[in-house]
Subunit: 356 residues, 2 copies
């Protein structure tokens, strides 16, 4: 037990997520509030065309107002599960989430669950819709990436009683069950090594930090290392861009044309780093003799890039497998799982060299 | 119009898929066959715990026997859609399907549909289950990869009236709406160029062909080019392996240690090719001076590999976008779309050179 932000939390119990499940609205609640029979409510849900428009509108408004979910209703009444688990990820491209998700699915599959995936294109609005769509389609549980999203989504999931596990991040103060890693600490560890190698002018090509807590934490990790090592803040050139190889190439070009160009370029992920690497080759800049490039993720791109990319290894498969195991246990015995921290760590390959 | 296998087919109309929709069982049919009221059938579906076990078993058996789907029943009765479209792909790893799928989703999303994805791990049994799971979760329509699967799956989808589009393949004789490309012709075009460059000893590192029609067609494409150019069949070393960078590396090593090693190594996809490329580097074999390596797919791996990979470009984004447009139109007006053939073509980069 520990006190966080003035509130007592029990590590790994995370009762917050399940807090509202005892007061879930029932079919009966909807019928009473709308002044109709339960059969009418049921008909609105299952065969809306059979219901008079005015009645239907009234019932639908009541359903929305109370936050009633027919699927959850069915589950409560019949302990009926769909054996479907949803996963909502920012993107399917570039395999950043693919490997972890495949492991997540393999573990679910071994326990008789089907995984359904939706991808948001890094849009918070899309994510909110997909959460609702997956719950409406009967997902028993959800996997989400990172902690940062509208509180209303967490409230909705709590009200619907949908076990939800956060991955790709670690924040015990959130009180939410998660299987992830500390993005800030991992990037800080890498940045310390880079600074210890003599690099003083740094750049970070980052994914957009506004709605992406992983990107923000990686940025904070570099800042922390600079502070530790006595480097002034202004020695970091910070470039935010959207996610892609082409974008990484463009940002690298921009970084290298700064009045004080960096000797080491951190990238918020391997995809950006591989773009930077390609641009360096196209510009006749030698890596790592002229400039060092550092990635984050350790997806396969990092290993097949040339030179092979120095990056931060994320334990994708382990994270996926453990996240599945956590949800399966939660669904089985109703107890939220402990929060699990996995280690992400620097992997030295061939794109980082000491600054001469 | 053309006659295929003794049966008249109308190109691009593909009425076969929708053929059984007129005889779909209704809720009433189930009730009559089980000798219960429609309310009881509805209760079995929605609140099974409220129904006596014997009655429930009888109704469930009747539902299974008639192939009744509550979701489709609801749709027929109420023209009620869930605005969810399912996509079932062999794997999420390595981004082979990711880019096309992202474009598929973007187009769906612009029209108010949510995409849910399931991945089979190249298992036919998984695919069959996932088809059922997605239909049960209310998918309005499905995207599938390739034509080859148990006829029972097509029968099930036809009985449920689920518009289904085939992608990543082109076979107008199938009578199924598809948006894809001719795998055999694309690989044949590439192989002709390779042979014209003087290569006589060839190898193909292929994904498993038994349940993967795309892999099989790529193999047939090379054989066709060899026949055109008068190369005997035994000049092709055929190695089948499962899908991965590591597997590509191992297979390449095996190919190069043959008594008559190839001067050009085709790979069934870019992932295997990148593995071969890595193995060549590790073995001190120079590409393309010592041996040429050719991929298939043109995913980003191909462009960031070093040397950049000569490969067959697949129009991923266009295929995804057009597949979505085809399904959206089909859902809107009930008419199956025309089958669309896109062009996949050789892209010359730096891993193929003339045989001296």
């Amino acid at each position: 037990m520990t006190e966080v932000a003035g509130r007592i939390e029990i590590y790994g119990q995370c009762e917050i997520v399940m807090a509202n499940t005892t007061s879930l609205p029932t079919l009966q609640d909807v019928a009473a509030a709308a002044g109709v029979s339960t059969a009418t409510v049921s008909r609105v849900i299952n065969f809306p065309a059979q219901v008079a428009p005015a009645t239907r509108a009234k019932v639908e408004a009541t359903i929305a107002q109370l936050g009633y979910s027919p699927h959850f209703g069915a589950r409560v009444m019949a302990a009926r599960r769909t054996n479907t688990v949803g996963a909502i990820i920012p993107t399917m491209e570039n395999a950043v989430f693919a490997r972890g998700l495949q492991a997540f699915q393999d573990e679910l599959s071994a326990h008789g669950y089907t995984m359904l995936v939706a991808s948001t294109g890094y849009s918070a609005a899309n994510e909110a819709e997909q959460v609702k769509a997956l719950v409406a389609r009967g997902a028993d549980a959800l996997l989400l990436i990172g902690h940062k999203r509208d509180q209303a989504i967490y409230d909705f999931l709590a009200a619907q009683g949908i076990p939800t596990i956060i991955t790709w991040a670690f924040d015990p103060s959130s009180g939410r069950p998660s299987v992830g890693f500390d993005n800030a600490a991992a990037m800080r560890d890498m940045a310390r090594q880079v600074i210890d190698m003599g690099h003083r002018q740094l750049a970070l090509i980052s994914a957009e930090t506004a709605s992406n807590d992983r990107a923000m934490e990686r940025y904070l990790g570099i800042q922390a290392a600079m502070q530790d090592k006595g480097l002034p803040e202004e020695n970091l050139l910070f470039i935010e861009t959207s996610y892609g190889i082409e974008e990484g190439a463009i940002a690298f070009k921009q970084a290298m044309s700064a009045s004080n160009p960096p000797s080491a370029v951190f990238c918020g992920n391997d995809v950006l780093a591989v773009g930077a690497l390609r641009q360096a080759r196209d510009s006749g800049i030698h890596v790592p003799d002229d400039v060092s490039i550092i990635g984050f993720d350790d997806i396969e791109l990092a290993q097949v890039a040339y030179p092979p990319l120095t990056t931060v290894h994320v334990p994708h498969r382990e994270m996926g497998r453990l996240a599945a195991a956590a949800l399966i246990g939660w669904l089985k015995d109703g107890t939220p799982p402990n929060t699990v921290e996995l280690l992400a760590y620097p992997v030295m390959r061939s794109t980082l060299a000491p600054k001469d």
